[in-house]
Symmetry: C2
Subunit: 465 residues, 2 copies
Amino acid sequence: MMKGKFSAFFEPDSVAIIGASYTPGKPGHEVIRNILANGYKGKLYLVNPKGRELLGLPVQPSIASLPEGIDLAIIILPAKETPQALRKCTEKGIKHFVLSAGGFAEVDEYGAQIQQELIDIIHKKKIRVLGPNTSGHTSTPHQFTSTFFPLGKIRRGKVSYIAQTGNFATHTMKYILTAEHFVVSRVIGLGNKIDIEESEALEYLADDPETSAIIMYLESIKRPRRFLEIARKVTRLKPVVMLKGGSTEAGKNAAVAHTAAMAAEDRIVDGMLRQAGIVRIWDYTHLILTGKALSMVPLPKGNRVSFLAPSGAMLVVLADLCIRLGLEIPELEPETLRRLQEISPPFIRMRNPVDIWAAASRGIEFGYREGMEAVLKDPNIDAVVPVLMLTKDIGVPPFEFIIELVKKFPEKPILITFSGDRQYMEECKEFVEPLGVPTFPEIEQPFEVLSILSRCVRAMNRPSL
Amino acid sequence: MMKGKFSAFFEPDSVAIIGASYTPGKPGHEVIRNILANGYKGKLYLVNPKGRELLGLPVQPSIASLPEGIDLAIIILPAKETPQALRKCTEKGIKHFVLSAGGFAEVDEYGAQIQQELIDIIHKKKIRVLGPNTSGHTSTPHQFTSTFFPLGKIRRGKVSYIAQTGNFATHTMKYILTAEHFVVSRVIGLGNKIDIEESEALEYLADDPETSAIIMYLESIKRPRRFLEIARKVTRLKPVVMLKGGSTEAGKNAAVAHTAAMAAEDRIVDGMLRQAGIVRIWDYTHLILTGKALSMVPLPKGNRVSFLAPSGAMLVVLADLCIRLGLEIPELEPETLRRLQEISPPFIRMRNPVDIWAAASRGIEFGYREGMEAVLKDPNIDAVVPVLMLTKDIGVPPFEFIIELVKKFPEKPILITFSGDRQYMEECKEFVEPLGVPTFPEIEQPFEVLSILSRCVRAMNRPSL
């Protein structure tokens, strides 16, 4: 399939909203606000039988009154009105659609019938459809979104998402936008997948120059062989991380009620993903944290970490954790040890992980800066995690030195975590994250994420079969 | 051993600080500030050769000038001056000590020699010592602490901690006090354990009416047989949760540098803990979150959970997670299903977990309140987790209804988690936590904690051997 076939979805020059609403809070209203908030530069046509004006834009009274050749239509109508609207749009030459309504096969037999009607139209009219039951898609490079959940401006980045759930493009995206500082490229909410499914979505992102890494939430895989084939190629070029919902019987039961898709047997899925170089994860939180890390730090060369804390117990617990996570804690070069020893009390024998006494004995900024620089320089180390102990009484350093170190060692991921006074953790986060340095509130999280990133690197570098 | 033998540590009527300092930030100064901040009601004697006055209290120029019969002395002097001070204190009849300095066996051979000197004094003088290299202990029921790390007032509760690390009583406690709303009873920092070790500490807390649950961080177990014997009894009465540092070779290496203790072989430890009814955990974060939950919610009767979210994907992912964690998602009573169905759109077949459509279709407060009440009433359910989806546009409910439900169902733990806009998550946390309802920022956390709590209950109810 040729490149650019989805440009009508991700780079539309003109978009019609069928079911534009005058009522704030309604999906047919919020989708327009989202499009405007993201600064969409193409033409926007609104359709509502009442006509008039809406958010400063003229409203067409019917699909029939639309001009020919609009790239994409977002149909935000109740399920039972959707097939008719779809037909009418095709009569105006529209070939690409986002179908937002729910109420199809995921709810009942009647919904399943309407869904079949949609499928028949798709086959007859040779159109392409995202959904139904999708919370939409987003394309920050084109300043466009079809999401009807109130999100406002979505920050542009290089990590893209495929989600077989409305939640990702809605509440999770809201969380990302309000709690975290990271950025996204494309987001594809698959919905009920009556036409476009994960294989094509993955293929699009594989070739997409605006996508450097792909994160997926799937509950089922529609064409496993095709999916595998595409995944096998892209995972050598870009990290592909997947959370597979429905890995247990209980989860599967919930999945049936959710997107009308029965999840495949999990062990088969697991082997398949492994073969395809897809890195499987298990927690929804890791979906978010991995996206955050991939959007901010370079991929580590490997799984060799160093971490620094002025607390023996933290070092012990985190060393245990690293081993459980498949991370290596390598020995340091003599030169590195010499430098660490130089800044430390003489009775401490320095090693990796680094008991950063200098943070207490010679000032917190000095200790972390010199300690981090020493291990960042070390050729045995692929990534560095400082556990910043922040309290008012001990002193909170200015955080510029972290940014300076990130600039000085652009090829090595630096992931920050904390202990101590929450206020200063938040201050640090607010300072470093907008400058591209990720922080993690729980001390285990940077290591969990580094483990995922190093599995990505291993998958990318895996030997050919 | 008789009850109350540690009352000089946990309920001292008089305390001497040997090494009181005039310099803010120094341990010998901060320990006094902590004691005053906690409202200690006993007599406080400060010793410093300079005499004069310190924080409004008179200063004795020497140990010799102290009165006879002081309950407890905190010696905050450099390692090499500690044995001499200890000897002098015994001459004044003091029998209980906290030795705060580090610089003993955990650092070098010279330190090990001084440590041996301390051990000799202990044996000769029949005194009891906590430490050395301890960040102190805390007893909120007695409004007392020997911690030198600036903490201020520590909130009183019923969960107690034994920690073979200074970090717990310092940075972690600071985190608990600033980021979380939970409360503690006793905290015992064991340090190098030359006298009081985990067995005696556990025995004390086992009999302590102010302790309803015990949480431990240990890197080694000094007298495993004794420890087992005590643990086996107490774990039938109170939950005992342990994070064991040094479970891997890498962790062990770090542990040697930390408290001079070589961790025992981990598999042996694991079997031993299991036999003793101790619930082992693996993450430092779980140490904190379990403490938070135990200090706020009742123990669940068992492992049967219900959770509510207006997101299919969340339900799927969390159902998978429950199964992995050993939690059950039981079917609901017909009466419960009837009520859930009543508040939901007709096309949704309600089940457990609960797809709480009513939160969207009939208002977020109505949906969660009625949904939570229905599953809380269900005799098949031991604990309930609402995933609150909070965004401004959809509406943020007043959170009183959560408190009302907690009061109405005092025997069932309710653990809150979130998705959506961070600001409202924080607002909810700030409202409900001071009223005793725990919240968890990551959606997996309440389930991880419930899994730990239900393991505690299983351990408490285990059949006798």
